[in-house]
Symmetry: C2
Subunit: 365 residues, 2 copies
């Protein structure tokens, strides 16, 4: 239903499902345009509550709260892909949901997602569905080893994944992921991991930020560097894949496409690993590093406004502050030109994203 709704005015209220740092940074970007925000989340320590005009503390299944929320906002967006389908459907009956339920439905399930990507003719790792232990044996015969067994739903930051090496008993991997419906993927010997953070406007326009090169630590994004060290052809192929995905999903908003770069004897090839229907950690550098930040761009798209310029302003590196990393804040705040962002979370639990720091170096034209 998205495209039948008019362009929003800057007096509008943006509804945001999810109260983490992504929702917080969307709310901050919306405020810059004069928009009001209303964050809906079930956790009373949600960092996004601190900067939103209003908030609702309720479960995503609470239809009374959802109805009041829908009535109070002009558009609903979300900061995470695991919005329950019933929640999305309920909201979409009352108010524009951007990106729409189709983007959620496609990306919440790794099997649906991989099938969708492959169906567009975009390379992915080889994959097979696994519904039971016997199916895993069969899939391993097709895919070979090493391979990665992943739950179809609710995985993030490496959770719900098990690597199956030459000596791994299938039953051990099956137990490790909780015997949930899964997908077995061939292990990709990638030379690097990259992402395309891009926006698709309500009018079908498309704008990609420069391709990001990502390194992970314990399955969590550690550092993003832009520009990625890629040939123009490889970067172009990655952006083209993101555009094909956004077009096919009739997408409205910012999305991130994570890809592997595989270097073989014929040069570099790309494989799409996963789609995030939302702003993305690897796009945080755009706050200082691009004409328009990914958060502003997302707000523009969901309001039906023209997309902003994604032009990059320099060579950027963004480093996450995870868990106790945040204790370095006094050093980082004193570093000339370093842009420190903290998310207002009280407890620095291991693996928890507490903030990030971006450094921009001028480039010679």
């Amino acid at each position: 239903m998205g495209r039948d709704w008019p362009v929003l005015s800057p007096r509008a209220t943006i509804g945001i499902l999810g109260g983490g740092q992504l929702g917080r940074m969307i709310a901050l970007a919306a405020a810059r345009y004069g928009l009001k925000t209303h964050v809906f989340a079930p956790d009373d320590t949600s960092p996004a509550f601190d900067v939103a005009t209003r908030h609702t503390l309720a479960a995503y299944e609470d239809e009374t709260a959802l109805a009041a929320f829908a009535a109070a906002v002009d558009v609903v967006t979300y900061e995470f892909e695991n919005v329950p389908a019933a929640t999305a459907a309920f909201l979409e009956a009352h108010v524009p949901l951007r990106p729409g339920a189709r983007a959620l439905g496609t990306t919440q399930d790794r099997l649906v997602e991989k099938s969708f990507i492959a169906g567009l003719g975009i390379p992915t790792a080889p994959f097979e569905a696994v519904d039971e232990l016997a199916g895993l044996d069969a899939a391993l015969t097709v895919i070979g080893r090493p391979a990665v067994l992943k739950t179809r739903r609710f995985g993030y930051d490496g959770k719900g994944q098990a690597l199956i090496g030459e000596a791994t008993a299938p039953a051990v991997a099956w137990d490790a992921i909780g015997r949930a419906p899964a997908i077995l993927e061939g292990f990709v010997p990638f030379s690097c991991e990259i992402s395309v953070v891009a926006a698709h406007g309500l009018d079908g326009s498309f704008a990609a930020f420069d391709v990001c090169e990502n390194t992970h630590r314990d399955h969590i994004l550690d550092v993003t560097s832009v520009p990625a060290r890629l040939s123009e052809a490889t970067a172009g192929a990655a952006v083209a894949a993101a555009k094909r995905i956004a077009d096919a999903l009739d997408y409205v908003g910012v999305l991130a496409v994570e890809l592997f770069v595989v270097t073989g004897k014929d040069g570099a090839a790309i494989m799409v690993n996963e789609i995030a229907p939302r702003v993305h950690n690897s796009g945080h550098w755009t706050i200082e590093g691009a004409d328009t930040s990914q958060f502003e761009q997302h707000v523009r798209a969901i309001c039906g406004w023209p997309l902003g310029s994604p032009r990059r302003l320099g060579a950027a590196t963004m480093a996450n502050l995870i868990g106790d990393d945040v204790k370095a804040w006094p050093t980082l705040i004193a570093e000339p030109g370093a842009h420190l962002h903290l998310y207002g979370k009280r407890h620095a639990r291991p693996g928890r994203k507490m903030g990030h720091v971006t450094r921009i170096r001028p480039e010679h034209g």
Copy 2:
């Protein structure tokens, strides 16, 4: 008392007196560092309420509300210089007030302010105190015509001012400003108006943004351009005056010093016109145009953190959107590279600052 307090942690809460766009942008900058904010203002449509963690809707004279506010925050700052002296004194007894009561006391009264500036050996327009109509006649004899009669207190954006030309009857000017205690200033035939936006840290460090050149429309700031078209010597003299003022006030935070440039046969000279003990409209370009924005810089200073780099990133122009100017938002949001800011005010009354737009052009080194 300011310097006896420890450096704040990013878990702290910043108290902000005043709920307009300056308070709003301070709150947004504080949020970027993970800080919580609490805005205290008497107007229930305050735009800063929309982005603050908490707000108190109360009169500045309400000591019960002030006591609760002081107990809930770790530092208090303000977005306007007309904070009542009793309010400042009450708060300062409970919590650090930054900038302190001395900055307020000096800048709230034009006669005290001009005497302070002149006492530092910094040039100002010639001035005389005027307490009654007879005194105005005497002052005109000293100052000559043209001259400008200004109320000592509560003037802003040209309010409380009357120009006295060759033919103006003193009584007419005296009536025009409401017969309030006043100051008569010699009219300065300036070639341009400039401002220095600078920060003074808790440790006495000083960092100035590049000098701003300002044009006004109906006594309200219209456009700021940076760099100002000044010789290095003139710009240096302006920054040196700002530093002397900040040092003498034992200032903590961002301040703006407005100056006239007068071009005579011996070259350009500066005269300080007024001091704003707060972030300033002419510093809005720093949001996109400098390594650190004036709002981030203010937050750093009042938290006792190191000042950020004030390095300019390009040639900047900032244009205010006043009253109906804001109707141009659909054009501005579509302009590539233009940075549109709207303040979330509902009604575009004439003379009301509704937003601003900043444009940054790369400069050749």
